[in-house]
């Protein structure tokens, strides 16, 4: 059965062998053919030699969720042959390196085997271990190009762009592509029934990962101080921030930097630096992952109680503890919302893809300064590190940072008095001053008991007054965070509610469920505290399926606590074993609940 622009394939290699550039080439080529495409990198938590996979989904309908159904497997790692063979869809294809014979036990009658002597050809063509290994990757890209019908011109153009300045490399790459391409064209009926045809569906889109996008958001929002400690999968946020700053933020003449990046000694220090920088008046942020958030708990409480802005990007990975650092999960939802001892509650933003990562990263700084509190951008490995197709990013040049109630020297000069923690206009947000600006602005920041005037206190009423105001202030942020995305379906009485990167799977699942006659209204929360809209939606529906990627139904828990909607209305649909969520997880989850109810 022919399937054009609607299939998925997976490339199995070992890491540290350079397959990333081959996979990138394939992604870009498909994208430039105008065909919607997404890539998911499944990599091990080590540096070299362990199994790694790259999954590519081509979807003319623009579905971007992971699919676990692979029509074609490019099985180049003998260590995982068995597993890889088992994963091919019945009727699908398996391409392997036929330089060595494939064990008979690995043969499945319902799969077509396509042997390509990659190593053999590359050994014959190239010299030196390194080049041979690298070019074997490019060769499989060439073979794939032939098999699924990539446009040779697009590939040629891409290769030329990439190696414009490196003639020798360009030659080898072209040669390697030809090796694979020509081989499959002569040995197999090309293209396969699953193949590509040009479309025009990517013109206004880009391919980008969420960490790069979040870093861009920070640059555009005017963040000047970034403090971090390396951790997978958050590391590339700061790497990208740095390279953008090197590009856009150096004095044209002196080359001096209009930013400071601090590689801290650990995550405690990283957040401490952010707090110090924010207190001094800079926009500052730190990217990290679960273990980092755990370590930051004490400082988070300080920022909350002393009311210091701070932007924390949590690129979630599979927990608990070290967990699976290279797998995705939404396991930190509760921690981000309530981190630190004592009564605390934090503003959180939940991007669902790199575009939102960009927009919300920028938004996070406005909210942190406006509400004078830590703001979490709660992303995850799937959003952060995988290649997503999203609409092009845009920036409104009229944007000016919302610095919140920061008093200038002039304002202080005018004012008869300044009290740091006084609620002067009822919104729970006090006025703030920056050090070095004016003697009248001086106050003492502390995490210990203080009254509304900023004085130290151990007095019960004074203490409570401040604590209650902070609660009001943070609740007020419910109206300022990005409002939920809601999609109504005529006649639907049930809701599908989700957060973050589950969006893609939910979109696809809803279309498929609709075909089965299951109509659902949709809500995706985008910020915490949740607002009235969220509560109303939950209340309006007989039952809401709460879709999320963690074991303990953390989103559902937060919905219960924040909206008071009874658990009976909230059916939990979860997947949390480390891969990005797929439509089938949502569908089978929903159906299982419906069957149970029926």
């Amino acid at each position: 059965m022919t399937r054009v622009n609607d299939f998925a394939f997976k490339i199995a290699t070992a890491n540290g062998t350079g397959s990333a550039s081959a996979n990138g080439l394939i992604m870009q080529a498909i994208f430039r053919m105008g065909v919607p495409v997404t890539g998911k990198n499944v990599f091990p938590s080590n540096i070299q030699g362990l199994p790694t996979w790259y999954e590519i989904r081509v979807s003319k309908d623009g579905y971007t969720a992971r699919t676990p159904y692979f029509d074609l497997m490019v099985a180049l790692n003998a260590a995982t042959y068995a597993k890889d063979v088992a994963e091919v869809r019945s009727g699908g294809y398996l391409m392997f390196d036929s330089s060595w014979p494939l064990d008979e036990s690995l043969k499945r009658p319902d799969v077509t085997y396509l042997g390509v002597p990659l190593a053999e050809m590359c050994n014959a063509t190239f010299k030196g271990v390194r080049e041979r290994i690298l070019m074997k990757n490019i060769a499989y890209a060439g073979a794939l190009a032939g098999l699924i019908g990539m446009d040779p011109d697009v590939i040629a153009a891409l290769t030329k762009e990439k190696y414009a300045a490196k003639k020798a490399l360009l030659d080898s790459n072209e040669k390697a592509i030809a090796l694979g391409y020509d081989y499959v064209r002569t040995h197999f009926p090309c293209p396969l029934p699953i193949h590509l045809e040009k479309m025009d569906a990517t013109r206004d889109s880009i391919l980008i990962d969420g960490n790069t996008a979040a870093a861009l958001g920070a640059v555009y929002a005017g963040a000047t101080v970034g403090a971090w400690y390396p951790i997978t999968p958050a590391t590339s946020v700061m790497e990208a921030f740095k390279s953008f700053c090197m590009k856009y933020r150096r004095d044209p003449e002196t080359k001096k930097k209009k930013f400071a990046i601090l590689q801290a000694e650990d995550e405690l220090a990283a957040l401490g630096m952010v707090i110090g920088a924010s207190w001094a008046g800079a926009r500052a942020f730190t990217p990290t992952s679960g273990p980092g958030i755990s370590l930051m708990n004490e400082f988070i409480g300080l920022a909350y109680y002393a009311e210091v802005p701070a932007v924390i990007v949590d690129v979630q990975r599979t927990g608990p503890s070290t967990g699976m650092p290279t797998r995705t999960q939404q396991g930190d939802l509760m921690m981000c919302a309530y981190a630190s001892h004592g009564d605390t509650r934090h503003v959180c933003l939940y991007p669902s893809d790199p575009r939102e990562a960009f927009e919300m990263a920028a938004k996070a700084f406005d909210l942190a300064e406006r509400f004078q509190t830590p703001v979490f951008l709660v992303s995850d490995l799937d959003i952060g590190m995988n290649d997503w197709m999203v609409p092009k990013l845009a920036w409104d040049d009229a944007y000016r940072p919302d610095r919140g109630k920061v008093l200038s020297a002039g304002e202080l000069e005018q004012a008869r008095s300044f009290y740091r923690y006084l609620d002067i206009d009822g919104d729970g947000i006090p006025q703030r001053t920056l050090p070095g600006v004016h003697p009248m602005g001086a106050y003492f920041t502390r995490g210990s008991g203080h009254n509304k005037y900023g004085g130290y206190t151990e007095d019960a009423d004074e203490y409570q007054e401040v604590l209650d105001r902070i609660a009001r202030k943070v609740q007020g942020a419910a109206r300022a965070v990005p409002q939920p995305v809601i999609r109504k379906t005529p006649g639907a009485t049930m809701g599908l509610v989700t957060v973050g990167g589950c969006h893609a799977a939910c979109m696809e699942a809803m279309d498929l469920l609709a075909k089965d006659g299951i109509a659902l209204d949709y809500l995706r929360v985008r910020g915490f505290p949740f607002g009235d809209e969220v509560r109303q939606f939950l209340e309006q529906h007989e039952v809401n399926f709460i879709v999320e990627q963690n074991r303990d139904a953390q989103l559902r828990s937060m919905l219960m606590l924040d909206t008071g909607v009874p658990v009976e209305k909230l059916e939990s649909v979860r997947y949390y074993a480390g891969f990005p969520m797929s439509a089938h997880h949502v569908i089978s989850g929903v159906k299982a609940k419906l069957e149970k109810a029926a």
Partner: protein, 351 residues
């Protein structure tokens, strides 16, 4: 309640500095420490040092961790922003504040528990980074605020008030700082204001991390016999090897001393530190000699004090980072945001 500030009525008789401010203007809230606590004397020295240097109080940021010592920023420079952060983590907060606004004059105050136990890693890394700040470690050998447990600076053999002996090695902040490549290392005694004030001033003027370990007796928990951090012990065993005189940029450098007894070090801003050497052969710009000398005195049961080491070519965080001059905080948004055109152009890369 530390927010009860003292009345600021000025006695016309009080001496004024170049800004027309009296020492009173550099004070803060009334101390809540125990009467006789060494930390209060250090506060007095800090007040004196800033006043004498004609620094506008509001240009200063004063930071601390948690502990009796860490309370003291509330007791000086009431017109400066203060930050009493969390236990042991002030160095990170200071590093961030400095990164944001290099124009702030920064002083951090900490205790030996705050700096050498929970905060040891942060202190070491702030030293290594050479953050431009004065760091005063008010060292009493115990955790004052939690009532007298040994800290990591308690010497082996020293006894607690209850008579228990400490068995562990002491961490010597000065040796540690030298080992980590600190660019300014001093040791003093809260009871020796003459020595301490110029050290503080030199530390403020120094571009980089100025580490000042001040023995500061805890009268309530560690001032008994058997303690090596008591007033009596420190008075008896402190040996000054080199005395710093701080000469601000604009003051002329006056009279010369006998050859070999004074060493001049010019700081980044042109100020000069004159080191009057008690020990003629002591070279305060030689890191290894300083280390060896501290150890020598230690072996003799002495506590070596003075401005022990000063690196003439100190590069602070901003020098290393090559940050633009001035504060990042004051950069206008249009210098920070590349704008939509750049964004559209950039996105060619993502296709």
């Amino acid at each position: 309640m530390t927010y009860i500030t003292k009345p600021t009525v000025h006695h016309p008789s009080l001496k004024k500095n170049a800004l027309g401010l009296t020492r009173r203007d550099y004070e803060g809230a009334i101390t809540t420490l125990c009467a006789g606590c060494g930390h209060d004397s250090i506060t007095a020295a800090i007040i004196h040092a800033f006043w004498e240097m004609d620094i506008a109080p509001h240009k200063v940021a004063k930071l601390s961790g948690i502990g009796c010592s860490s309370k003291t920023p509330a007791y000086f420079l009431r017109e400066a922003h203060g930050f009493n952060s969390v236990h042991g983590r002030m160095p990170a907060v200071a590093t961030g504040a400095n990164a944001a606004n290099g124009d702030l004059i920064m002083i951090g105050v900490s205790g030996d528990g705050d700096s050498l136990s929970i905060g040891l890693g942060q202190l070491c890394h702030a030293i290594r980074r050479n953050v431009n700040m004065l760091y005063v470690l008010e060292n009493n050998g115990v955790y004052g605020l939690t009532k007298g447990q040994f800290s990591a600076s308690a010497d082996p053999g020293t006894t607690s008030k209850k008579g228990e002996a400490n068995t562990m090695e002491a961490i010597d902040g000065a040796l540690l700082a030298l080992t980590l490549g600190a660019t300014f290392v001093a040791r003093s005694f809260s009871g020796d204001k003459d020595q301490l004030v110029p050290i503080i001033q030199a530390g403020i003027a120094h571009r980089g991390f100025a580490f000042v370990d001040v023995i500061s007796p805890c009268v309530t928990f560690n001032d008994h016999e058997g303690s090596t951090k008591s007033y009596a012990y420190t008075r008896e065993h402190a040996v000054e090897v080199v005395h710093a005189d701080f000469v601000p940029l604009r003051e002329p450098i006056e009279t010369t001393y006998a050859e070999g007894t004074v060493q001049r070090v010019t700081l980044h801003d042109g100020s000069v530190v004159k080191l009057r050497k008690v020990d003629k052969d002591y070279d305060a710009t030689n890191r290894d000699a300083a280390y060896a000398a501290i150890r020598d005195h230690q072996r003799k049961g002495e506590v070596m004090t003075g401005l022990l080491y000063l690196s003439p070519d100190s590069k602070d965080v901003h020098d290393q980072n090559e940050t633009v001059a001035g504060s990042l905080v004051s950069l206008p948004h249009d210098q920070l945001c590349p704008g939509n055109d750049a964004l559209q152009k950039l996105q060619q890369q993502f296709r």
